[in-house]
Amino acid sequence: MTNARDVHDLIREWTGSPEERRQLEELADRLEEALQAEVPYRPEFREALRAELMAQARRTLLPWYRRPVLWASTVAVAAAAAVVAFGLWQGPSLLGDFGAVPPQAPKVAEGPEQPGSLDSYEHSTIPRLSSNVKIPVVHLPDEVVADDQAQPEPLTGLDLDKGVQVYLVSNPADLDQFRRVAASLGITGQPQQVGDGYLVSSGGKTLTMSADGQIVYADSTAFTHAGAVIDEHGAREAASRFLSRAALPVPDLHPVVTVQPGEQGGHIYQVTYTPRVEGRPVVNGRTVVWMTDRSGVFRAEAHLRAQEQALGLRPVVSPDEAVERARQGGGLFGPGVDLVYVRSVVSGAVYLQPQWRVFGSNEQGQRVVRYIPALADE
Protein backbone atom coordinates (compact mmCIF):
# COMPACT_ATOMS: atom_id res chain seq x y z
CA MET A 1 0.00 0.00 0.00
CA THR A 2 1.62 3.21 -1.13
CA ASN A 3 0.34 5.37 1.77
CA ALA A 4 2.65 3.56 4.18
CA ARG A 5 5.67 4.05 1.92
CA ASP A 6 7.68 5.97 4.52
CA VAL A 7 7.15 3.15 7.02
CA HIS A 8 8.14 0.62 4.36
CA ASP A 9 11.35 2.61 3.84
CA LEU A 10 11.99 2.52 7.57
CA ILE A 11 11.40 -1.23 7.69
CA ARG A 12 13.79 -1.80 4.78
CA GLU A 13 16.36 0.37 6.50
CA TRP A 14 16.11 -1.45 9.84
CA THR A 15 15.46 -5.07 8.81
CA GLY A 16 17.97 -7.52 7.34
CA SER A 17 15.75 -10.54 6.83
CA PRO A 18 13.55 -10.45 3.69
CA GLU A 19 10.85 -12.50 5.45
CA GLU A 20 10.81 -10.22 8.48
CA ARG A 21 10.64 -7.23 6.15
CA ARG A 22 7.70 -8.69 4.22
CA GLN A 23 5.78 -9.41 7.43
CA LEU A 24 6.31 -5.94 8.89
CA GLU A 25 5.35 -4.27 5.61
CA GLU A 26 2.18 -6.31 5.52
CA LEU A 27 1.47 -5.33 9.13
CA ALA A 28 2.01 -1.65 8.31
CA ASP A 29 -0.52 -1.93 5.49
CA ARG A 30 -3.05 -3.57 7.80
CA LEU A 31 -2.54 -0.86 10.39
CA GLU A 32 -3.01 1.76 7.73
CA GLU A 33 -6.33 0.24 6.72
CA ALA A 34 -7.63 -0.48 10.23
CA LEU A 35 -6.70 2.85 11.78
CA GLN A 36 -8.07 4.98 8.98
CA ALA A 37 -11.56 3.72 9.84
CA GLU A 38 -13.84 6.31 11.37
CA VAL A 39 -14.34 6.27 15.12
CA PRO A 40 -17.99 6.92 15.96
CA TYR A 41 -18.73 10.05 17.94
CA ARG A 42 -21.90 11.68 19.17
CA PRO A 43 -22.94 14.22 16.53
CA GLU A 44 -24.70 16.30 19.16
CA PHE A 45 -21.41 16.54 21.05
CA ARG A 46 -19.63 17.63 17.87
CA GLU A 47 -22.22 20.34 17.16
CA ALA A 48 -22.48 21.49 20.79
CA LEU A 49 -18.71 21.84 21.06
CA ARG A 50 -18.62 23.71 17.75
CA ALA A 51 -21.28 26.14 18.93
CA GLU A 52 -19.42 26.70 22.20
CA LEU A 53 -16.12 27.27 20.41
CA MET A 54 -17.66 29.65 17.90
CA ALA A 55 -19.21 31.72 20.69
CA GLN A 56 -15.85 31.74 22.45
CA ALA A 57 -14.08 32.62 19.19
CA ARG A 58 -16.37 35.58 18.64
CA ARG A 59 -15.61 36.84 22.13
CA THR A 60 -11.85 36.36 21.94
CA LEU A 61 -11.07 36.98 18.26
CA LEU A 62 -13.43 39.90 17.64
CA PRO A 63 -12.67 42.71 20.09
CA TRP A 64 -15.77 44.66 19.07
CA TYR A 65 -18.14 41.79 19.76
CA ARG A 66 -18.26 41.50 23.52
CA ARG A 67 -20.04 44.64 24.57
CA PRO A 68 -22.92 44.55 22.06
CA VAL A 69 -23.65 40.90 22.79
CA LEU A 70 -23.96 41.46 26.51
CA TRP A 71 -26.14 44.44 25.84
CA ALA A 72 -28.25 42.52 23.34
CA SER A 73 -28.77 39.51 25.55
CA THR A 74 -29.78 41.69 28.47
CA VAL A 75 -32.30 43.54 26.37
CA ALA A 76 -33.59 40.34 24.78
CA VAL A 77 -34.15 38.69 28.16
CA ALA A 78 -35.88 41.79 29.45
CA ALA A 79 -38.02 41.96 26.32
CA ALA A 80 -38.97 38.31 26.54
CA ALA A 81 -39.84 38.72 30.21
CA ALA A 82 -41.98 41.73 29.38
CA VAL A 83 -43.92 39.80 26.77
CA VAL A 84 -44.69 37.01 29.20
CA ALA A 85 -45.51 39.38 32.03
CA PHE A 86 -47.99 41.45 30.11
CA GLY A 87 -49.57 38.56 28.28
CA LEU A 88 -49.02 40.15 24.93
CA TRP A 89 -48.37 36.82 23.28
CA GLN A 90 -51.82 35.32 22.96
CA GLY A 91 -51.30 32.44 20.57
CA PRO A 92 -50.24 28.87 21.26
CA SER A 93 -46.57 28.01 21.09
CA LEU A 94 -45.36 27.73 17.55
CA LEU A 95 -42.83 25.20 18.59
CA GLY A 96 -45.00 22.46 19.99
CA ASP A 97 -42.99 19.98 22.00
CA PHE A 98 -39.61 21.64 21.60
CA GLY A 99 -37.76 21.87 24.83
CA ALA A 100 -39.88 19.31 26.62
CA VAL A 101 -37.00 16.89 27.05
CA PRO A 102 -33.75 17.88 28.73
CA PRO A 103 -30.60 17.67 26.60
CA GLN A 104 -29.23 14.82 28.70
CA ALA A 105 -32.07 12.54 27.66
CA PRO A 106 -32.52 12.71 23.90
CA LYS A 107 -35.53 10.81 22.66
CA VAL A 108 -36.50 9.49 19.28
CA ALA A 109 -39.05 11.67 17.61
CA GLU A 110 -42.46 10.23 16.88
CA GLY A 111 -42.98 9.41 13.22
CA PRO A 112 -45.55 11.36 11.25
CA GLU A 113 -49.04 9.87 11.13
CA GLN A 114 -49.12 10.34 7.40
CA PRO A 115 -46.36 10.97 4.93
CA GLY A 116 -45.84 14.69 4.73
CA SER A 117 -46.15 16.61 1.52
CA LEU A 118 -44.12 19.53 0.35
CA ASP A 119 -47.16 21.74 0.80
CA SER A 120 -47.82 20.90 4.41
CA TYR A 121 -45.94 23.84 5.82
CA GLU A 122 -47.67 26.29 3.53
CA HIS A 123 -51.05 25.49 5.06
CA SER A 124 -49.91 25.24 8.63
CA THR A 125 -52.11 26.70 11.31
CA ILE A 126 -51.25 30.28 12.03
CA PRO A 127 -51.65 31.16 15.68
CA ARG A 128 -54.17 33.77 16.74
CA LEU A 129 -52.41 37.07 16.64
CA SER A 130 -53.57 40.56 17.00
CA SER A 131 -52.09 42.84 14.36
CA ASN A 132 -51.26 45.10 17.27
CA VAL A 133 -49.02 42.55 18.96
CA LYS A 134 -45.84 44.21 20.13
CA ILE A 135 -42.61 42.92 18.65
CA PRO A 136 -39.84 42.89 21.25
CA VAL A 137 -36.81 44.65 19.88
CA VAL A 138 -33.62 42.68 19.32
CA HIS A 139 -30.12 44.08 19.11
CA LEU A 140 -27.42 42.66 16.89
CA PRO A 141 -23.69 43.12 17.44
CA ASP A 142 -21.72 45.20 14.98
CA GLU A 143 -20.68 43.33 11.86
CA VAL A 144 -17.30 43.77 10.20
CA VAL A 145 -17.68 44.37 6.46
CA ALA A 146 -15.25 44.25 3.58
CA ASP A 147 -14.50 47.52 1.82
CA ASP A 148 -16.43 46.48 -1.27
CA GLN A 149 -19.50 45.66 0.82
CA ALA A 150 -19.53 48.94 2.69
CA GLN A 151 -22.21 50.56 0.55
CA PRO A 152 -25.78 51.13 1.74
CA GLU A 153 -28.64 50.09 -0.52
CA PRO A 154 -30.89 52.94 -1.69
CA LEU A 155 -34.09 53.46 0.31
CA THR A 156 -36.24 53.21 -2.79
CA GLY A 157 -39.74 51.76 -2.57
CA LEU A 158 -40.20 52.73 1.06
CA ASP A 159 -42.78 55.15 2.41
CA LEU A 160 -41.36 55.75 5.84
CA ASP A 161 -44.27 58.02 6.83
CA LYS A 162 -46.66 55.08 6.49
CA GLY A 163 -44.34 52.68 8.25
CA VAL A 164 -42.62 49.38 7.51
CA GLN A 165 -44.11 45.90 7.40
CA VAL A 166 -43.40 43.38 10.18
CA TYR A 167 -43.76 39.60 9.68
CA LEU A 168 -44.37 36.51 11.75
CA VAL A 169 -42.79 33.30 10.42
CA SER A 170 -45.29 30.50 10.85
CA ASN A 171 -44.23 26.95 11.70
CA PRO A 172 -40.52 27.67 11.19
CA ALA A 173 -39.28 24.33 12.57
CA ASP A 174 -41.36 21.76 10.72
CA LEU A 175 -40.26 18.26 11.69
CA ASP A 176 -41.71 16.61 8.56
CA GLN A 177 -39.80 19.00 6.38
CA PHE A 178 -36.66 18.37 8.42
CA ARG A 179 -37.09 14.64 7.79
CA ARG A 180 -37.45 15.21 4.05
CA VAL A 181 -34.32 17.35 3.92
CA ALA A 182 -32.38 14.68 5.80
CA ALA A 183 -33.62 11.94 3.48
CA SER A 184 -32.78 13.92 0.37
CA LEU A 185 -29.23 14.40 1.67
CA GLY A 186 -28.89 10.66 2.19
CA ILE A 187 -29.13 10.79 5.98
CA THR A 188 -31.12 7.89 7.30
CA GLY A 189 -32.52 7.18 10.74
CA GLN A 190 -34.96 8.81 13.13
CA PRO A 191 -34.37 12.39 14.27
CA GLN A 192 -33.54 12.67 17.94
CA GLN A 193 -34.75 15.54 20.04
CA VAL A 194 -31.77 17.30 21.57
CA GLY A 195 -32.51 20.28 23.78
CA ASP A 196 -35.00 22.41 21.90
CA GLY A 197 -34.04 21.12 18.46
CA TYR A 198 -33.57 17.92 16.49
CA LEU A 199 -30.63 15.97 15.18
CA VAL A 200 -30.24 13.10 12.72
CA SER A 201 -26.97 11.52 11.66
CA SER A 202 -25.63 8.66 9.57
CA GLY A 203 -22.59 7.80 7.51
CA GLY A 204 -20.52 10.75 8.69
CA LYS A 205 -23.29 13.23 7.83
CA THR A 206 -25.20 15.21 10.45
CA LEU A 207 -28.24 17.44 10.16
CA THR A 208 -29.52 19.54 13.05
CA MET A 209 -32.51 21.84 13.34
CA SER A 210 -32.90 24.51 15.98
CA ALA A 211 -36.23 25.71 17.30
CA ASP A 212 -36.27 28.70 14.95
CA GLY A 213 -35.98 26.46 11.88
CA GLN A 214 -32.30 26.94 11.19
CA ILE A 215 -30.69 23.78 9.95
CA VAL A 216 -26.99 22.94 9.93
CA TYR A 217 -25.60 20.21 7.72
CA ALA A 218 -22.11 18.78 8.23
CA ASP A 219 -20.43 16.05 6.21
CA SER A 220 -17.12 14.77 7.56
CA THR A 221 -16.62 12.63 4.44
CA ALA A 222 -16.73 15.57 2.02
CA PHE A 223 -12.99 16.08 2.11
CA THR A 224 -12.49 12.79 0.32
CA HIS A 225 -14.79 13.89 -2.53
CA ALA A 226 -12.91 13.29 -5.78
CA GLY A 227 -14.87 15.44 -8.22
CA ALA A 228 -13.32 17.69 -10.83
CA VAL A 229 -11.66 20.87 -9.57
CA ILE A 230 -14.09 23.78 -9.72
CA ASP A 231 -13.75 27.55 -9.88
CA GLU A 232 -15.98 30.23 -8.31
CA HIS A 233 -18.62 29.77 -10.97
CA GLY A 234 -18.57 26.04 -10.37
CA ALA A 235 -18.89 26.65 -6.62
CA ARG A 236 -22.00 28.75 -7.20
CA GLU A 237 -23.52 26.01 -9.34
CA ALA A 238 -22.57 23.27 -6.88
CA ALA A 239 -24.16 25.20 -4.00
CA SER A 240 -27.34 25.69 -6.00
CA ARG A 241 -27.45 21.99 -6.87
CA PHE A 242 -26.94 21.11 -3.22
CA LEU A 243 -29.83 23.32 -2.05
CA SER A 244 -32.12 22.00 -4.79
CA ARG A 245 -31.27 18.41 -3.94
CA ALA A 246 -32.01 19.12 -0.28
CA ALA A 247 -35.33 20.80 -1.20
CA LEU A 248 -34.12 23.92 0.55
CA PRO A 249 -34.93 27.41 -0.69
CA VAL A 250 -32.45 29.15 -2.99
CA PRO A 251 -33.14 32.61 -1.62
CA ASP A 252 -30.86 34.72 -3.80
CA LEU A 253 -30.09 34.60 -7.52
CA HIS A 254 -26.74 36.27 -7.04
CA PRO A 255 -24.96 34.59 -4.16
CA VAL A 256 -21.58 35.89 -3.05
CA VAL A 257 -18.66 33.50 -3.39
CA THR A 258 -15.57 33.91 -1.23
CA VAL A 259 -12.45 31.78 -1.48
CA GLN A 260 -9.85 30.90 1.08
CA PRO A 261 -6.91 28.54 1.00
CA GLY A 262 -7.65 25.00 2.10
CA GLU A 263 -5.66 23.51 4.95
CA GLN A 264 -4.36 20.69 2.78
CA GLY A 265 -3.85 22.66 -0.42
CA GLY A 266 -6.58 23.67 -2.82
CA HIS A 267 -9.32 26.07 -1.82
CA ILE A 268 -12.45 26.28 0.25
CA TYR A 269 -15.41 28.10 -1.25
CA GLN A 270 -18.10 29.82 0.78
CA VAL A 271 -21.29 30.60 -1.12
CA THR A 272 -23.57 33.03 0.72
CA TYR A 273 -27.20 33.68 -0.21
CA THR A 274 -29.02 36.59 1.36
CA PRO A 275 -32.82 36.27 1.35
CA ARG A 276 -34.96 39.37 0.94
CA VAL A 277 -38.24 40.55 2.40
CA GLU A 278 -39.93 43.60 0.91
CA GLY A 279 -36.86 43.87 -1.29
CA ARG A 280 -34.65 44.24 1.78
CA PRO A 281 -31.95 41.79 2.88
CA VAL A 282 -32.56 39.57 5.90
CA VAL A 283 -29.10 39.94 7.34
CA ASN A 284 -29.14 37.11 9.85
CA GLY A 285 -31.20 34.74 7.72
CA ARG A 286 -28.47 33.94 5.24
CA THR A 287 -27.97 30.57 3.66
CA VAL A 288 -24.31 29.60 3.51
CA VAL A 289 -22.77 26.59 1.76
CA TRP A 290 -19.11 25.66 2.24
CA MET A 291 -17.31 23.26 -0.06
CA THR A 292 -13.90 22.07 -1.12
CA ASP A 293 -12.62 22.92 -4.58
CA ARG A 294 -13.79 19.49 -5.67
CA SER A 295 -17.36 20.55 -4.87
CA GLY A 296 -17.56 18.42 -1.74
CA VAL A 297 -20.07 20.31 0.42
CA PHE A 298 -18.87 19.88 4.00
CA ARG A 299 -21.13 22.35 5.78
CA ALA A 300 -24.28 24.29 5.11
CA GLU A 301 -26.49 26.56 7.17
CA ALA A 302 -29.99 27.43 5.99
CA HIS A 303 -33.57 27.88 7.12
CA LEU A 304 -36.46 25.60 6.25
CA ARG A 305 -39.16 26.89 3.95
CA ALA A 306 -41.84 28.68 5.91
CA GLN A 307 -44.71 31.06 5.30
CA GLU A 308 -44.43 34.65 6.43
CA GLN A 309 -47.52 36.34 7.80
CA ALA A 310 -47.63 40.14 7.51
CA LEU A 311 -48.56 41.76 10.81
CA GLY A 312 -49.07 45.25 9.39
CA LEU A 313 -47.17 48.46 8.86
CA ARG A 314 -45.41 49.82 11.92
CA PRO A 315 -43.98 53.30 12.47
CA VAL A 316 -40.20 53.54 12.34
CA VAL A 317 -37.62 55.99 13.58
CA SER A 318 -36.04 58.15 10.90
CA PRO A 319 -32.70 57.35 9.24
CA ASP A 320 -31.21 60.48 10.82
CA GLU A 321 -32.31 59.32 14.25
CA ALA A 322 -30.77 55.90 13.56
CA VAL A 323 -27.43 57.46 12.61
CA GLU A 324 -27.52 59.57 15.76
CA ARG A 325 -28.15 56.48 17.90
CA ALA A 326 -25.34 54.62 16.15
CA ARG A 327 -22.94 57.44 16.96
CA GLN A 328 -23.93 57.33 20.62
CA GLY A 329 -22.43 53.83 20.79
CA GLY A 330 -18.94 55.11 19.93
CA GLY A 331 -17.01 55.12 16.68
CA LEU A 332 -17.62 57.10 13.49
CA PHE A 333 -20.95 56.42 11.79
CA GLY A 334 -23.05 57.83 8.94
CA PRO A 335 -24.23 59.28 6.79
CA GLY A 336 -24.58 55.91 4.99
CA VAL A 337 -27.66 54.06 6.23
CA ASP A 338 -30.14 51.59 4.79
CA LEU A 339 -32.97 49.39 5.98
CA VAL A 340 -32.72 45.63 6.45
CA TYR A 341 -34.75 42.88 8.08
CA VAL A 342 -33.62 40.88 11.06
CA ARG A 343 -34.86 37.43 12.00
CA SER A 344 -35.61 37.48 15.72
CA VAL A 345 -36.77 34.75 18.04
CA VAL A 346 -38.68 35.94 21.05
CA SER A 347 -40.73 33.78 23.40
CA GLY A 348 -40.82 30.95 20.91
CA ALA A 349 -42.04 33.07 17.99
CA VAL A 350 -39.95 34.02 14.97
CA TYR A 351 -40.37 37.54 13.61
CA LEU A 352 -38.89 39.49 10.75
CA GLN A 353 -38.49 43.03 11.95
CA PRO A 354 -36.86 46.06 10.29
CA GLN A 355 -33.58 47.49 11.50
CA TRP A 356 -31.49 50.39 10.31
CA ARG A 357 -28.03 49.43 9.17
CA VAL A 358 -25.64 52.31 9.72
CA PHE A 359 -22.26 52.23 7.99
CA GLY A 360 -19.10 53.46 9.62
CA SER A 361 -16.15 52.36 11.69
CA ASN A 362 -15.92 51.22 15.29
CA GLU A 363 -13.60 52.51 17.98
CA GLN A 364 -10.87 50.15 16.76
CA GLY A 365 -11.06 51.65 13.29
CA GLN A 366 -12.61 48.57 11.66
CA ARG A 367 -15.19 49.11 8.95
CA VAL A 368 -18.44 47.85 10.42
CA VAL A 369 -22.18 48.19 10.14
CA ARG A 370 -24.14 48.92 13.30
CA TYR A 371 -27.72 47.73 13.61
CA ILE A 372 -30.25 50.10 15.14
CA PRO A 373 -33.79 48.86 15.86
CA ALA A 374 -36.14 50.64 13.46
CA LEU A 375 -39.52 50.12 15.15
CA ALA A 376 -40.54 53.36 16.82
CA ASP A 377 -43.22 52.17 19.20
CA GLU A 378 -41.67 49.03 20.67
Binding site: L35, A57, L61, E263
Partner: protein
Protein backbone atom coordinates in the same frame (compact mmCIF):
# COMPACT_ATOMS: atom_id res chain seq x y z
CA UNK B 1 -4.94 29.12 8.80
CA UNK B 2 -3.81 32.72 9.28
CA UNK B 3 -7.43 33.86 8.89
CA UNK B 4 -8.45 31.72 11.86
CA UNK B 5 -6.43 34.04 14.11
CA UNK B 6 -9.04 36.75 13.71
CA UNK B 7 -11.98 35.11 11.96
CA UNK B 8 -14.27 32.81 13.99
CA UNK B 9 -15.70 31.28 10.81
CA UNK B 10 -12.23 30.28 9.64
CA UNK B 11 -11.62 28.66 13.01
CA UNK B 12 -14.91 26.83 12.55
CA UNK B 13 -13.63 25.45 9.24
CA UNK B 14 -10.52 24.11 10.94
CA UNK B 15 -12.73 22.49 13.53
CA UNK B 16 -14.88 20.88 10.82
CA UNK B 17 -11.77 19.63 9.10
CA UNK B 18 -10.01 18.10 12.10
CA UNK B 19 -12.64 17.22 14.69
CA UNK B 20 -13.04 13.58 13.62
CA UNK B 21 -9.28 12.95 13.44
CA UNK B 22 -8.53 14.47 16.82
CA UNK B 23 -11.47 12.67 18.44
CA UNK B 24 -10.39 9.34 16.90
CA UNK B 25 -6.81 9.80 18.10
CA UNK B 26 -7.89 10.61 21.66
CA UNK B 27 -10.45 7.83 21.77
CA UNK B 28 -7.88 5.29 20.63
CA UNK B 29 -5.41 6.54 23.24
CA UNK B 30 -7.90 6.46 26.12
CA UNK B 31 -10.44 3.81 25.10
CA UNK B 32 -13.04 5.88 26.92
CA UNK B 33 -15.81 7.80 25.19
CA UNK B 34 -16.33 10.31 27.99
CA UNK B 35 -12.61 11.00 28.22
CA UNK B 36 -12.48 11.37 24.43
CA UNK B 37 -15.18 14.05 24.56
CA UNK B 38 -13.59 15.87 27.49
CA UNK B 39 -10.10 15.85 25.98
CA UNK B 40 -11.32 16.75 22.48
CA UNK B 41 -13.09 19.72 24.00
CA UNK B 42 -9.94 20.62 25.95
CA UNK B 43 -7.80 20.32 22.81
CA UNK B 44 -9.88 22.67 20.67
CA UNK B 45 -10.43 25.10 23.53
CA UNK B 46 -6.67 25.33 24.08
CA UNK B 47 -6.10 25.64 20.35
CA UNK B 48 -8.51 28.58 20.19
CA UNK B 49 -6.95 30.21 23.25
CA UNK B 50 -3.46 29.95 21.75
CA UNK B 51 -4.15 30.29 18.05
CA UNK B 52 -2.70 33.79 17.87
CA UNK B 53 0.65 32.47 19.06
CA UNK B 54 0.71 29.69 16.45
CA UNK B 55 3.49 30.17 13.93
CA UNK B 56 4.00 28.02 10.86
CA UNK B 57 7.37 26.32 11.24
CA UNK B 58 7.11 23.71 8.55
CA UNK B 59 4.70 21.39 10.30
CA UNK B 60 1.01 21.41 9.33
CA UNK B 61 -1.57 22.93 11.63
CA UNK B 62 -2.97 19.50 12.41
CA UNK B 63 0.41 18.49 13.86
CA UNK B 64 0.08 21.41 16.28
CA UNK B 65 -3.39 20.17 17.23
CA UNK B 66 -2.07 16.65 17.77
CA UNK B 67 0.61 18.00 20.08
CA UNK B 68 -2.05 19.67 22.24
CA UNK B 69 -4.12 16.47 22.15
CA UNK B 70 -1.13 14.29 22.97
CA UNK B 71 -0.26 16.46 25.99
CA UNK B 72 -3.87 16.33 27.15
CA UNK B 73 -3.89 12.52 26.93
CA UNK B 74 -0.60 12.31 28.81
CA UNK B 75 -1.98 14.52 31.59
CA UNK B 76 -5.15 12.42 31.65
CA UNK B 77 -3.24 9.17 32.17
CA UNK B 78 -0.90 10.79 34.67
CA UNK B 79 -3.73 12.16 36.79
CA UNK B 80 -5.65 8.90 36.81
CA UNK B 81 -2.69 6.54 36.80
CA UNK B 82 -4.58 4.13 34.59
CA UNK B 83 -4.04 2.75 31.16
CA UNK B 84 -6.73 2.06 28.61
CA UNK B 85 -8.73 -0.97 29.54
CA UNK B 86 -8.74 -3.58 26.84
CA UNK B 87 -12.41 -4.19 27.52
CA UNK B 88 -13.29 -0.62 26.82
CA UNK B 89 -12.06 -0.57 23.25
CA UNK B 90 -15.39 -0.44 21.48
CA UNK B 91 -15.96 -1.97 18.06
CA UNK B 92 -15.60 0.39 15.16
CA UNK B 93 -18.61 1.31 13.06
CA UNK B 94 -19.99 -1.20 10.65
CA UNK B 95 -20.07 -0.51 6.95
CA UNK B 96 -22.24 -1.90 4.23
CA UNK B 97 -21.06 -5.14 2.65
CA UNK B 98 -20.79 -8.86 3.15
CA UNK B 99 -21.68 -9.59 6.81
CA UNK B 100 -19.02 -12.30 7.09
CA UNK B 101 -16.30 -10.07 5.68
CA UNK B 102 -17.55 -7.26 7.88
CA UNK B 103 -17.31 -9.43 10.99
CA UNK B 104 -13.78 -10.46 10.07
CA UNK B 105 -12.85 -6.84 9.45
CA UNK B 106 -14.23 -5.80 12.85
CA UNK B 107 -12.42 -8.71 14.52
CA UNK B 108 -9.24 -7.54 12.87
CA UNK B 109 -9.76 -3.95 13.99
CA UNK B 110 -10.61 -4.96 17.55
CA UNK B 111 -7.56 -7.19 17.75
CA UNK B 112 -5.37 -4.38 16.46
CA UNK B 113 -6.90 -1.91 18.93
CA UNK B 114 -6.27 -4.33 21.80
CA UNK B 115 -2.71 -4.95 20.69
CA UNK B 116 -1.99 -1.23 20.44
CA UNK B 117 -3.31 -0.73 23.97
CA UNK B 118 -0.54 -3.03 25.26
CA UNK B 119 2.23 -0.84 23.82
CA UNK B 120 4.05 1.80 25.83
CA UNK B 121 2.43 5.28 25.70
CA UNK B 122 5.24 6.56 23.44
CA UNK B 123 4.83 3.64 21.05
CA UNK B 124 1.05 4.10 21.00
CA UNK B 125 1.55 7.74 20.17
CA UNK B 126 3.86 6.99 17.26
CA UNK B 127 1.60 4.29 15.82
CA UNK B 128 -1.60 6.33 16.13
CA UNK B 129 -0.11 9.60 14.92
CA UNK B 130 1.27 7.81 11.87
CA UNK B 131 -1.57 5.48 10.92
CA UNK B 132 -4.64 7.19 12.38
CA UNK B 133 -3.40 10.78 12.20
CA UNK B 134 -1.61 10.46 8.87
CA UNK B 135 1.46 12.39 10.04
CA UNK B 136 4.89 11.80 8.54
CA UNK B 137 7.64 10.48 10.81
CA UNK B 138 9.35 13.86 10.76
CA UNK B 139 6.11 15.54 11.86
CA UNK B 140 5.61 12.99 14.63
CA UNK B 141 9.06 13.91 15.90
CA UNK B 142 7.96 17.56 16.10
CA UNK B 143 4.68 16.67 17.82
CA UNK B 144 6.30 14.43 20.42
CA UNK B 145 9.43 16.51 20.93
CA UNK B 146 11.70 13.60 20.01
CA UNK B 147 14.33 13.22 17.33
CA UNK B 148 13.34 11.59 14.06
CA UNK B 149 15.73 8.74 14.86
CA UNK B 150 13.99 8.15 18.20
CA UNK B 151 10.61 8.11 16.45
CA UNK B 152 11.89 5.56 13.93
CA UNK B 153 13.15 3.38 16.75
CA UNK B 154 9.82 3.63 18.56
CA UNK B 155 7.97 2.80 15.35
CA UNK B 156 10.15 -0.21 14.61
CA UNK B 157 9.82 -1.59 18.13
CA UNK B 158 6.08 -0.94 18.11
CA UNK B 159 5.67 -2.86 14.86
CA UNK B 160 7.61 -5.77 16.29
CA UNK B 161 5.53 -5.71 19.46
CA UNK B 162 2.28 -5.57 17.53
CA UNK B 163 3.29 -8.47 15.33
CA UNK B 164 3.90 -10.58 18.42
CA UNK B 165 0.61 -9.58 20.08
CA UNK B 166 -1.39 -10.22 16.93
CA UNK B 167 0.23 -13.62 16.56
CA UNK B 168 -0.76 -14.47 20.12
CA UNK B 169 -4.34 -13.47 19.42
CA UNK B 170 -4.41 -15.62 16.29
CA UNK B 171 -5.08 -12.71 13.96
CA UNK B 172 -1.56 -12.79 12.54
CA UNK B 173 0.04 -15.87 11.05
Amino acid sequence: MERAKHDPEAFGHLYDLYFARIYAYIYRRTGDRQAAEDLTSETFTKALANIRSYRYTGQPFVAWLYRIASNAVTDYHRSRRVTASLDRVAPLPASEGDPVEEALRLDDQEAIARAIATLSPDQQDVILLRFSGGLKLREIAQVTGKTEGAVKALMFRALGGLKGKLRESGVWR
